[in-house]
């Protein structure tokens, strides 16, 4: 705390050779690892490590919506609850939703609302839970990306997976996928989520300072990155379902036939010191 003022003034986020503090180039993602089907009780689940982020996503539903007066007679509700574990940040976060979590839960709910085939499941809810276990900037993108895999793992019929990524600006350079220091001391951050097959933007937020030109550069970087992340999402599902889902994901999932996991597929009951 003593040195914050100093840091604010002196922090150089990009080296003279154009590398970022963690060694990445401006258009480079942090390492990402996705695993599908990691929980037993949930209807679908996924775990993602994205740089220093560790995020778990789970899906229940479509199930009867509670309380009843919230039920929509024409379609399913898609509801997300984004939550940070108290120990996921450097200063302990008090349990329970803060205003930031409420907002993120809302925009993620809306992002998935546009891809889930809601009309097939009137009066139900599709409940998405995102738990941030360790945070390092970009948790909403990581959570959304994992939740997308969890929805597929739960067999919820969707137009496509949703894929999310952020770009921002640090030291006046537009860069992909800011980490925590870059987010804290950078000039702008712009998370987005997209339906890769159609290019539809289903989440878009931005804060900071971008010229229109810089914004377009940032969107270009993000759109490009979502293509790579989309592949990782599909790989995670392929690993979990061997053949079945891969075939399905080549085509749009037929609206009426929810993806079913192979019932014989054993779930991992153990994990290494790094895994979940």
């Amino acid at each position: 705390m003593e040195d914050i003022e100093h840091i604010e003034k002196e922090m150089k986020l990009i080296n003279s050779d154009g590398r970022r503090l963690d060694g990445r180039s401006f258009d480079e993602l942090r390492p990402i690892r996705i695993e599908a089907g990691v929980l037993r009780r949930a209807d679908g689940s996924a775990y993602i490590e994205w740089g220093g982020n560790k995020v778990l996503a789970a899906v229940y539903g479509p199930r009867e919506a509670h309380p009843r007066h919230l039920q929509d007679p024409a379609r399913a509700l898609v509801q997300c609850r984004y939550n940070m574990a108290p120990f996921s940040v450097s200063d302990r976060k008090r349990p329970g939703p803060d205003r930031r979590s409420v907002e993120i839960s809302k925009v993620i709910s809306e992002a998935f609302s546009s891809v889930v085939f809601k009309e097939q499941f009137p009066r139900t809810s599709v409940d998405i839970f995102i738990e941030v276990l360790q945070a390092d900037a970009g948790t909403r993108c990581a959570g959304l990306t994992a939740a997308s895999v969890a929805l597929a793992d739960a067999g919820v019929p969707m137009r496509d997976l949703v894929t999310s990524c952020a770009s921002g600006k640090i030291d006046d350079v537009v860069c992909l996928d800011l980490n925590k220091d870059e987010d804290n001391f950078g000039d702008a951050d712009c998370p987005m989520a997209i339906v890769p097959r159609t290019g539809d933007v289903v989440l878009l937020q931005m804060d900071g300072h971008l010229t229109y030109d810089e914004f377009q550069k940032a969107m270009g970087l993000s759109i490009d990155a979502t293509k790579r992340i989309y592949e990782m999402q599909r790989d995670a599902l392929r690993r979990r379902y061997s053949v079945t889902l891969e075939d399905i994901l080549k085509e749009a999932p037929p609206a009426a036939a929810p993806v079913e996991p192979e019932p014989e597929q054993p779930r991992e009951d153990d994990f290494g010191p790094e895994g979940i």
Binding site: E5, D200, V202, L210, T211
Partner: protein, 259 residues
């Protein structure tokens, strides 16, 4: 509740009209409603403004007090923005703690002001690490006829620009106007099917598929964005919306600046 169900007929009518470039209240698709600003409406506040955007009516009061800075920003004042969707303003608003709608609204208005560096918050530091000015932006929505994002943002900007810091009462020298350095303007566009409508009225908002709020500064630079609702935008639409926000923002900015 039935009030909330906008018939498909109405939706078809609005859409048909809009496809010929017209709107129910006679506006062009990219034309905001009339903005009226009344400053210093509330004497008990350090600054205030009442803003009407069409029939949407909001009252914003600014209170200032002296407190501690956050440990990670020891040299800057503190900004706190709240929106109360009081049940007076709409049959669909309820008393009680803020719901997600009100929280999102407050956070988006707050980001527009904070990220544009409208107020130089470093000049609101009194003693580093110990004493800074705390700025409360309280937004009271009185009458809700659509597009609260922009109405609340205009109210907050106008109220801040009329605020006098009560330094004398705190034994901190003479009262002074807030150091305002930038002029963010928020412009919200609604999408109905494939059409984009700037500053949606209540009826338009109810039938919209998606919403995008873009806050630009006096240079046309982007300071904050927020997409909402369960529909989506193409990237081309996003770019068109930003360009419109830059243009409309230029028209509205003088209304917020004049005192």
């Amino acid at each position: 509740m039935s009030e909330e169900i906008v018939s498909e007929l109405m939706r078809a009518h609005v859409y048909r009209l809009a496809s010929t470039g017209q709107r129910v209240d006679g506006r062009r698709l990219d034309e905001p409603r009339k903005v009226s600003v009344a400053r210093s409406f509330v004497k008990t506040a350090e600054g205030s403004a009442r803003v009407k955007l069409g029939n949407t009516d909001v009252l914003v009061g600014i209170k200032m007090s002296v407190g501690e800075p956050y440990p990670d920003t020891p040299n800057t004042g503190v900004l706190s923005t709240s929106v109360e969707l009081i049940p007076m303003a709409s049959p669909t608003f309820e008393a009680g703690p803020p719901r997600p709608d009100a929280i999102e609204l407050a956070r988006v208005v707050d980001r527009g002001i904070r990220e544009s560096k409208m107020v130089n918050m470093e000049r609101l530091c009194i003693t580093p690490k110990e004493k800074v000015w705390i700025l409360f932006i309280d937004i009271h929505v009185l009458d809700y006829d659509g597009n609260l994002f922009d109405a609340c943002s205009y109210g907050a900007v106008a109220a801040l620009s009329s605020t006098i810091a009560p330094a004398k009462g705190q034994g901190l020298g003479d009262d002074f106007p807030l150091p305002v350095e930038h002029w963010p303007v928020s412009v919200t566009t609604a999408k109905i099917k494939d059409l984009l409508l700037v500053d949606p009225s209540l009826d338009e908002e109810r039938m919209a598929d998606a919403r995008l709020t873009v806050t630009t500064d006096e240079n046309g630079d982007i300071r904050a964005m927020q997409k909402g609702l369960s529909g989506s935008f193409t990237y081309e639409e996003v770019k068109r919306i930003i360009e419109t926000a830059q243009r409309v923002g230029r028209d509205i900015r003088p209304l917020l600046q004049s005192s």
